[in-house]
């Protein structure tokens, strides 16, 4: 891997530019009348930005499998928490 200052700046600024573009897109999309779609678009773009930071700035893309597993565990456990809690919340909402 090229480790000159120029190379370091270049590869990171490319990621940063992508993030800026996504930020402007999500800002613009918020003003479009998409109804419930606004939330979906907003969350989707946020997830993409987050994935860029995690994979590239945080080096998860090149990390050992063990580290990828640790990161995945956090997300997977969140889905357990969301799924089971929402099973109750949604059931009660639909009953009322």
């Amino acid at each position: 891997m090229n480790t000159s200052a120029y190379a370091i700046w270049r590869r990171n600024i490319l990621v940063w530019l992508a993030l800026v573009v996504l930020l402007l897109s999500t800002l613009g999309a918020a003003y479009l009348p998409l109804g419930g779609g606004n939330l979906v678009v907003g969350v989707a773009i946020a997830a993409t930005k987050a994935a860029l930071v995690v994979a590239l700035f945080m080096g998860l893309r090149q990390a050992d499998t063990l580290i990828k597993l640790a990161a995945a565990a956090g997300i997977v456990w969140l889905t357990f928490m969301f799924a089971l809690t929402l099973s109750d919340v949604l059931a009660r909402l639909s009953n009322s």
Binding site: A5, W16, I45, A47, L56, L90, L93
Partner: protein, 211 residues
Amino acid sequence: MSTAPRVLREPWQELSRQRQGATFGIWVFLASEALFFGSLLLLYTVDRISHPQAFIMAGRETDIWYGTINTAVLMTSSLTMAVASQAAEADMRRLTIWCLSATVALGMIFLVLKGFEYAEDFDKHLWPGINFALKDPAAQLFFSLYWTLTGVHAIHLTIGLGLIGRLIIMGGRRRIQLRENPQVEVTALYWHLVDVIWIILYPLIYLMGRS
């Protein structure tokens, strides 16, 4: 040529293993942070599902300029942090310290802007209570989440500034070596987490009800 004390410490026998261990350890901690902020997001999700209109109305009251500029500030601080971390790897000491300092500066800009934003929010009666600006009671739930989420995030950010500041001071005075130092990687990953959390909070807090 650096007179800083050794980075290798007990019980590790090799520096590369110690660095792997530190990186693994901080990622495990980040997984726990995912559960931490995730719980708050679960609360947001449940409240939003239960009170969609109130949330959209309340979301309009946040200041989109402060929010967007702060998001850009934090994203840029992630850039400088990534460069700092990679520069430390490449033994570019001056670039490392410069970028760490830029990261701290950007983090402080974030906090200052947040302070102004909070002051404005108070003026607009967005603190839940008797004088709350909006009629719908559930709108207060949105703002309870707003104050809690941004407040907890700001605390995490401040801790991050402390960690980075420590690297700058100790590294600047050569009390610690920055190259191959697991503490740099650990600090960088923690800081990126602060950025990721804000990236996720941004649409939930600032982009509701704009259309």
